[in-house]
Symmetry: C2
Subunit: 208 residues, 2 copies
DNA sequence: CGTCTCGTTGAGAGTTTTCAATGTAAGTGG
DNA sequence: CCACTTACATTGAAAACTCTCAACGAGACG
């Protein structure tokens, strides 16, 4: 069964959130009005306070989340308690531990809110039903994932064999908005560098 | 217009290659016999000798390639003429410069054959027509890309903040068959490490 | 037998991390 | 509004890691 929100408080904001989702879908595929109406019933609205967790390592990731508002990050925590950020998800992005979500395995990722967030959640069961009942959503996700693969390929190439400075500059070029909204220490973690190294790179670049 | 092979020599081998493709598709989605028949007309068979190129940096990547047989690699070449391998594609995999293929931009990747290959090629026009005419192919590619995202995420996490030894061990665990079929120097390039470092890691691991 | 490719080994150079100390800005409770 | 705490950023010095360069060895192939 699709999940419904019966919470009156959330009702108004869910409409807004859902319209943001619809808009994003319609950038990639065209939806019949009937389909658009049905779509809403698959999603559950959720608010997340700053630093609140959506998912913890070891749990089964039950939801794929669409970000209507705010920023989340996904990360692993190593033996020494250091975080390695794998992704920042901004408005209009989707986030989850994909492997856990799809294959019902234990999550290796943690996901929490960098800023207060408004999310639309869909469970794996509804995700599967959604793509079967509204086939154009297969197309939507196909295009979404296709684009995502392109950006991940780029990141992988940069990450694999670049100096710290090249990694930093590549991020400045490709994701400048990240620097306006995310603390430098988190950016360092995202780049796989120590905060000190990033600080020194920034200094070096300013001196030029 | 879909591309056809009229080369008699290739005819028999195309049937085999195409059956391999069909089998891979049917692992993910179910196809009507009529759809399966139509599917074939979208693909162009191609053989590639060892070290022969499928794509060179700077060209527009015209084809998405399904590997029926053999191994290819995609890589960038840096200023010093050193290769950085981004992917090995084995039997049953797809390979291309995705950004170039989808967005008709210049390729940043080279693709060549590590071993003699048999491929089935589909052009971007036919790829788009294919997903429109046989919608279940949207679903096939959605699932394919979904899985691909999972593995790329893993690689990115490893690549981002691990020691050389951790990267090596992670590859041994996740892709042992790679070590049976690929020279160590290429594996080093794939891991973003120098061949010397990989050699030393192997030695260190043997001594334990 | 010579050549070529691939892998190994050593030493030195360069880069990045770690550890520790200090500085700075923002938010909190009195 | 101030003192205090907390989070974030900078800086320096030493340690650790990986790369580069160079030499050498082993096996494949003509």
């Amino acid at each position: 069964m699709p999940v419904h929100s019966n919470t009156p408080l959330l009702h108004y904001s869910k409409i807004i959130m859902f319209n943001i989702l619809l808009q994003h879908i319609r950038e990639k595929v065209s939806l019949e009005p009937e389909e658009a109406g049905r779509l809403e019933t698959f999603f559950l609205p959720k608010e997340l306070a700053r630093k609140e967790f959506l998912l913890r390592e070891g749990e089964i990731c039950r939801y794929l989340a669409f970000v209507s508002n705010g920023i989340l990050k996904s990360f692993t925590r190593d033996e020494k308690g250091q975080d390695r950020i794998s992704l920042f998800a901004f408005e209009g992005w989707w986030i989850s531990d994909f492997n856990s979500f799809i294959n019902r395995e234990k999550a290796v990722l943690n996901i929490d809110a960098v800023e207060k967030c408004e999310l639309l959640l869909i469970s794996i069961e509804d995700y599967e039903r959604l793509t079967l009942e509204i086939p154009v959503m297969d197309r939507y996700f196909r295009i979404l994932y296709q684009n995502s693969l392109v950006t991940k390929d780029r990141r992988l190439m940069v990450s694999n064999k670049s100096t710290a400075e090249e990694k930093y500059l590549s991020l400045v070029r490709n994701n400048p908005e990240l620097f306006r909204r995310i603390p430098h220490s988190l950016i360092a973690s995202y780049l796989g560098l120590s905060p000190e190294t990033v600080s020194r790179i920034r200094k070096r670049l300013l001196l030029r």
